[in-house]
């Protein structure tokens, strides 16, 4: 199909994005943090001077120095390299979980709202049951049942996050279903799949995107929590939560062991939350004026 009329539309929307960014410094800060953490994780092989899993019992528990920027752990592994590689696990989990949960959750929610009646009731009560158990407890139970590994922890967190999206998407669907353009589409002969795809899902997207961005931070924290109690990534894989857990024993004398992975988690979670807030303000023109 012949397209492209004026200057590249991609460029103009990028320019607009930048204009909005400049007006919300917190989001800019969040983006900076995320970029920093993601770059560090992505470029880990280049930045890390040591092999993250290389054991060197001769240099155990060394304080931060030029050779070991973040110090070393109890078996002499370089903490700087481990924090960099750990970011790959944690950020990966966060993005995967938020993405899977939002896609699965919003599709279920959308159809639940469109089909209605028995199916709707059934799905929503099921979601209520999931929501009635404290989410960390349920995640722990699921992860323990599946067996401790990072992948299983990921699945467990995804399952527990799904109901939030189902409820969100269903609520959106119920209100969008009554909009004039959905009725208009019906009068022009559109079928249900077309309405869900082009009208409901598209218009339900903004709050789901916001929830998703905010959830990445949550998921990282949850994965770290699971790692901390031993249900997430297993040794020797570098993972922030697990690193904090092993550093706990040395907290009083070797402060650097738990602190650097902790700061990494903190920065990533804050980054994603700031961006989530920023995205929400961007997508809600009424709030932006404040």
């Amino acid at each position: 199909m012949a397209t492209t009329t004026a200057v590249s539309p991609l460029f103009s929307s990028l320019a607009y994005f930048w204009y909005q960014l400049r007006r919300s410094p917190m989001m800019l800060l969040g983006l900076l943090l995320i970029t920093l953490m993601c770059l560090a994780a992505a470029l880990a092989p280049l930045l890390a001077v040591h092999d993250p899993d290389a054991i060197d019992l001769g240099s155990r528990l060394l304080p931060p120095s030029a050779a070991h920027l973040f110090g070393t752990d109890e078996v002499g592994r370089d903490l700087f390299s481990r924090v960099l590689y750990g970011g790959r696990q944690s950020i990966g989990v966060g993005i995967f979980v938020a993405f899977m949960a939002s896609v699965i959750g919003s599709i279920i929610g959308c159809f639940s709202g469109i089909i209605g009646r028995m199916v709707d009731t059934l799905i929503m009560r099921l979601m209520d049951i999931v929501l009635s158990v404290p989410s960390l407890v349920l995640t722990m139970a699921l992860a323990a049942a599946l067996g401790p590994s990072l992948f299983n922890a990921m699945i467990a967190i995804t399952v527990v996050r799904i109901p939030y999206y189902v409820r969100l998407a269903r609520g959106q669907t119920l209100s969008i279903r009554e909009m004039a353009y959905v009725r208009a589409a019906e009068t022009f002969g559109a079928g249900k799949p077309h309405i869900v795809r082009w009208h409901v899902l598209r218009n339900a997207l903004p709050p789901i995107i916001v929830q998703m961005t905010l959830d990445i931070g949550n998921a990282i924290l949850m994965a770290a929590a699971l790692g901390f109690i031993g249900l997430g990534a297993q040794q020797p894989t570098a993972e922030w939560g697990a690193m904090i857990a092993s550093g706990r024993n040395y907290l009083l004398d070797q402060w650097w062991y738990s602190t650097f992975p902790g700061v990494a988690i903190l920065m990533t979670a804050i980054g994603f939350n700031l961006v989530g807030d920023g995205v929400r303000d961007m997508l809600d023109p009424k709030q932006k004026v404040k």
Partner: protein, 350 residues
């Protein structure tokens, strides 16, 4: 003289001569009784409505809120959720085909292609997240076998027909970038995109300001003339009907109380309700005098009084009004009939 009671007589009388030989009406609603079941009983929304629209004709339905005009329109496209209503008797035929018995799948092929509808709210009737052009081409491609490129050509031609100055630019615009009048034009373009034989316009100009109203109506008529589309215009505005429609049905409490050629009905309204509606128009009022209003309120459709539904608000009520009046043609104006015991005879003498 007591005119014939059968509804057939009035149906035949209603056919307009100038459009001639095409015998099958595009829309033929025959003696339709429709109700919405509610707790202990039912809301009787339509009570024996008969409406015919011939090919290419522009017909108006007038009435106040709750008179059943929108239900009639929605039902003609079967857009009321199944299971929420009950048809007691009667039929709706679209070009001879029984709409009430068509499957939902068949209906989806009729809607948009064979009959289209435009709504009151142009501001919200377009999907805010899709470009206008995409919405038109989606519809065209749903009902025809045109390729994406051809559909685009066709959509741009349609927009140009809507007197939109820069159709290519509008094609790539989002609805929020357009004014209400512009959006209503897009809706009209959508409605005409597959050249339907019937267009139902449910108060298409209510949300627009007066100057735009007129433009939109002119545009509707122009397009309808060009494509041979019949229009069923639902409105509460007698002034719009008088400028726009060839024939008019006046509805009250779920029944047609008067019908005829617009000029006849406006010049010599026979039903006291129609007289009330026309009397309420500002242009018919004497300067300085308060506007006339019809006393009382629309009866509760769940609990209709026996006899004529207008009885409790009618200035002329008399003995026979405890019976439901059928539509009776006026003796000297055969195309013009009225459902009123008191005026059906009287009008003939004038």
């Amino acid at each position: 003289m007591m005119p014939a009671r059968q509804s057939d007589t009035m149906l035949n009388a209603a056919t307009t001569p100038p459009l001639g030989q095409a015998a099958v009406p595009v829309l033929d609603i025959d003696n339709l009784y429709l109700e919405f079941p509610v707790y202990k009983g039912a809301i009787r929304a339509l009570n024996g409505v008969s409406i015919q629209v011939m090919p290419g004709e522009i017909v108006g339905i007038v009435g106040e809120s709750g008179s059943g005009k929108s239900v009639t329109a929605m039902m003609s496209m079967r857009l009321i959720p199944e299971n929420s209503y009950r048809v007691r008797t009667g039929s709706i035929r679209k070009s001879g085909r029984n709409i009430l018995q068509a499957s939902e799948k068949e209906m989806r092929h009729i809607r948009g292609k064979d009959m289209a509808m435009i709504f009151q709210e142009p501001m919200t009737a377009l999907n805010p997240t899709m470009k206008v052009g995409r919405q038109i081409t989606d519809l065209i491609r749903r009902h025809t076998s045109l390729s994406a490129g051809q559909a685009r050509e066709h959509a741009i031609a349609l927009l140009r027909d809507m007197h939109i100055a820069d159709p290519v630019q509008i094609f790539d615009a989002y609805p929020f970038e357009l004014s209400g009048g512009m959006r209503q034009r897009i809706m009209i373009a959508l409605a005409f995109s597959c050249e339907p034989s019937l267009l139902i316009a449910d108060e298409p100009t209510t949300a627009l300001d007066v100057t735009v109203q007129k433009q939109v109506l002119m545009l509707l008529r122009e397009r309808a003339r060009k494509t041979g589309t019949a229009i069923l215009l639902i409105t509460h505005d007698m002034a719009v009907v008088s400028q726009f429609c060839e024939r008019v049905y006046v509805m009250y409490a779920g029944s047609v109380v008067e019908q005829g050629i617009t000029a006849q009905v406006i010049d010599r309204p026979a039903h006291p309700y129609t007289r009330g509606l026309l009397g309420g128009l500002p242009e018919n009022a004497e300067p300085g005098a308060p506007l006339q209003a019809i006393a009382g309120q629309v009866p509760n459709l769940a609990d209709l009084p026996g006899g004529c539904a207008f009885r409790n608000r009618c200035p002329l009520q008399g003995e026979p009004c405890s019976q439901i009046p059928p539509l009776m043609p006026l003796a000297d104006q055969p195309g013009h009939s009225v459902a009123c015991w008191m005026t059906a005879g009287e009008a003939a003498h004038v």
